[in-house]
């Protein structure tokens, strides 16, 4: 093996550095913008960095005049007379944080989607991995064809049905507005085919001898599924769950169609409105702070899981 010349190494590193700069340009811009004190900044400076934007979107904007909440309290004096007075029970210094409301809405929707998707998909994938039955090929065929459809085609019909069923209303059902349930239902539908496909590949890799040994010991199919297959496919479940979570966490196309009120907004709608309503500079630093808050956790998890994510993705696309 000949030695690589100094020049060649230098050029390689310089070219790589060029790419890295192009990648870091928007990333560093948005991080710096999130620490700027005023909205009229275009080129962020390193002076006067502040945490104000984060503080405001997480805890709410400070009110100009704090509002006092008073309550009528009945006091019994020592001589037995009863008087009532107004007493300050709480001082509100900030507006409620709309960011946090949207954040919890999205957490709820994404978590429910992941739980339902994983439970149903793991059962189905187990059936596909361990049994043969008439109609099995239909799913494979459907999966391949459905890949070709733009997701929006199905959304139109789902929306029409949701409108008819009254699932676009804000009325609560089981502690959550109906329209949020509609999103959970829609996202589960989007995620399921891939989740089944992906989990089946993981379960196929678990040796069948384990099931057979358990069967000999008298274990029922459910026990085999719940006590052997599910624990052994935990990495697969984690990856599939992550895909489902990311599919629901920042989904905005369906949410945009279904949700019109700001109080019901999910996280992506909240950010979208921040940037699309009003002109440049109106909310840019707040938007930057929200971007950082939303992107950092997902990015960290993604980087940690990237090897597995990729293997699942390729299994799904190459096979068949």
């Amino acid at each position: 093996m000949e030695k690589t010349s100094f020049m060649k190494r230098l050029i390689t590193r310089l070219v790589l550095l060029l790419f890295v700069l192009a990648i870091l340009l928007p990333v560093s811009w948005v991080v710096l913008m999130s620490f700027q004190p005023t909205n009229d900044v275009v080129v962020p400076s390193l002076k006067n960095l502040t945490l104000k934007n984060y503080d405001e979107i997480i805890f709410g904007k400070p009110l100009k005049r704090p509002r006092e909440i008073k309550k009528t309290v009945t006091i019994t004096l020592s001589d037995g007379t009863v008087t009532t007075t107004r007493k300050v029970v709480k001082v509100i210094t900030r507006k409620p944080s709309t960011f946090m409301r949207a954040f919890w809405t999205s957490v709820k929707i994404a978590t429910l989607t992941v739980i339902i998707t994983l439970f149903v998909a793991s059962m189905t994938a187990y059936g596909f991995s361990r049994y043969t039955f008439p109609g099995k090929f239909l799913f494979y065929f459907y999966y391949m064809v459905s890949q070709m459809f733009p997701a929006m085609v199905g959304m139109i019909a789902l929306y029409v049905v949701f409108v008819k069923l009254g699932l676009t209303s804000a009325k609560p059902f089981l502690g959550m507005p109906k329209v949020h349930w509609a999103l959970v239902i829609a996202y589960t539908g989007f995620n399921l085919p891939f989740a089944v496909w992906n989990l089946r590949a993981f379960m196929d890799a678990i040796p069948r001898e384990l099931d057979e040994a358990a069967m000999v010991d008298g274990a029922s199919p459910w026990t085999i599924y719940w006590k052997i297959i599910v624990p052994l496919s935990l990495p697969g479940l984690a990856v599939t769950g992550l895909f489902a979570f990311m599919g629901a966490w920042l989904e905005y196309v369906m949410a945009l169609i279904l949700i019109s009120s700001n109080t019901l907004a999910t996280l992506p709608l909240w950010m979208y409105n921040l940037l699309y309503v009003g002109s440049y500079g109106l909310n840019i630093t707040k938007f930057a702070a929200a971007s950082v808050l939303v992107a950092v956790p997902v990015t960290v998890v993604f980087l940690a899981f990237q090897k597995y994510l990729l293997s699942g993705l390729l299994k799904g696309s190459v096979k068949g």
Binding site: T12, P26, Y131, L158
Partner: protein, 313 residues
């Protein structure tokens, strides 16, 4: 051997299969039905109040309407859609392979490689929803990029209002987003090339450049083919970059046969269709367009499959 206990099998697969049937398969069929009905803006109110009985079948009227009213726009949009897909996939694959070859060397330490790789896959790891909106904010006409251009003595560019520059902007964003995925695929492909090939080439006196040109690139491309096909489908239907950047705008007009047609310069078929659904509430037209997109895609994939087979022979 897979077991043949149908009852147990159906017990396990039926919840998932039923959900997929109702939430994934049926909506696709129902959308096809909607494409043949009168479910447009004026009918929607009645539909909400009175239900399915107000819906009437109109045969191929919606498709005819699209060809007659929007034929020119559809053609222009499809044209840009193909250019968009070609330019994107070309840069994704070529830059991806270039980066992979540079990273796949023998002289760099593992730590250094990991650091480079870590930064290079960031555009893939950060949620695209966030990065596209960030790019949009940077491309504002009085935003960061124009401020930098002014600083180095170039005139500010109307990224949002000029059709040409808006197209350049969305291309820049999507190339930025798509390179890391192809780089990772290419890295995997590089590792599958046997070292003996290079040794044999060295014995025959091949230069490093010849090795890349005649061994690395053809072999890597062959391994990458399924991912490239996938990339073509994804890019063809890339909704988020176009919609989040400028909702398919700015509007341009073209005069054909004395009639003026206005359409969004960056619109792809998919955003064009969404516009009918979201802004104009023409659900029937949107559904019909959705199936047009599907058949275009199906045709492209079939052609691609034929080409691939032909290339292999």
């Amino acid at each position: 051997m897979a077991k043949k206990d149908y009852k147990t099998a159906y017990f396990f697969v039926s919840p998932g299969m039923l959900l997929i049937f109702f939430l994934s398969f049926l909506p696709l069929v129902f959308s096809l039905v909607i494409a043949f009905t009168n479910l447009e803006k004026q009918v929607i109110g009645d539909f909400v109040r009175e239900g399915f009985k107000v819906i009437r079948f109109v045969g191929f009227d919606n498709f005819r309407w699209i060809i007659k009213n929007d034929g020119v726009i559809l053609f222009k949009t499809l044209q840009w859609n193909i250019v968009w897909t070609f330019i994107n996939v070309f840069f994704h694959v070529s830059l991806g392979i270039t980066l992979a070859i540079m990273l796949n060397n023998k002289w760099m330490s593992t730590v250094e490689k990991t650091i480079w790789r870590f930064i290079l896959i960031l555009p893939w790891a950060i949620p695209a929803f966030v990065t596209i909106l960030v790019w949009r904010a940077m491309f504002y006409e009085n935003g960061f990029i124009n401020a930098i251009l002014t600083y180095i003595g170039i005139h500010p560019i109307p990224w949002m209002t000029s059709p040409f520059w808006a197209r350049i902007a969305v291309l820049i964003i999507n190339i930025w987003l798509g390179v890391p995925f192809m780089m990772i695929i290419a890295l995997g492909a590089l590792q599958s090339i046997p070292a003996e090939l290079y040794e044999a080439a060295s014995v025959d006196g091949a230069t490093p450049w010849q090795k890349i040109r005649y061994i690395t690139v053809p072999l890597v491309l062959r391994v990458m083919m399924p991912s490239i096909l996938l990339g073509i489908i994804w890019t063809f239907n890339k909704f988020d970059v176009i919609w989040l950047f400028n909702k398919g705008g700015p509007v341009v007009s073209v005069t054909v046969g004395g009639k003026v047609y206005s359409y969004g310069a960056t619109n792809l078929l998919i955003t064009y269709m969404y516009n009918y659904f979201y802004n104009q509430h023409a659900w029937n037209i949107a559904a019909a367009l959705g199936y047009v997109v599907f058949f275009v895609l199906l045709a492209l994939s079939l052609i691609n499959m034929k080409l691939q087979k032909w290339a292999e022979e």
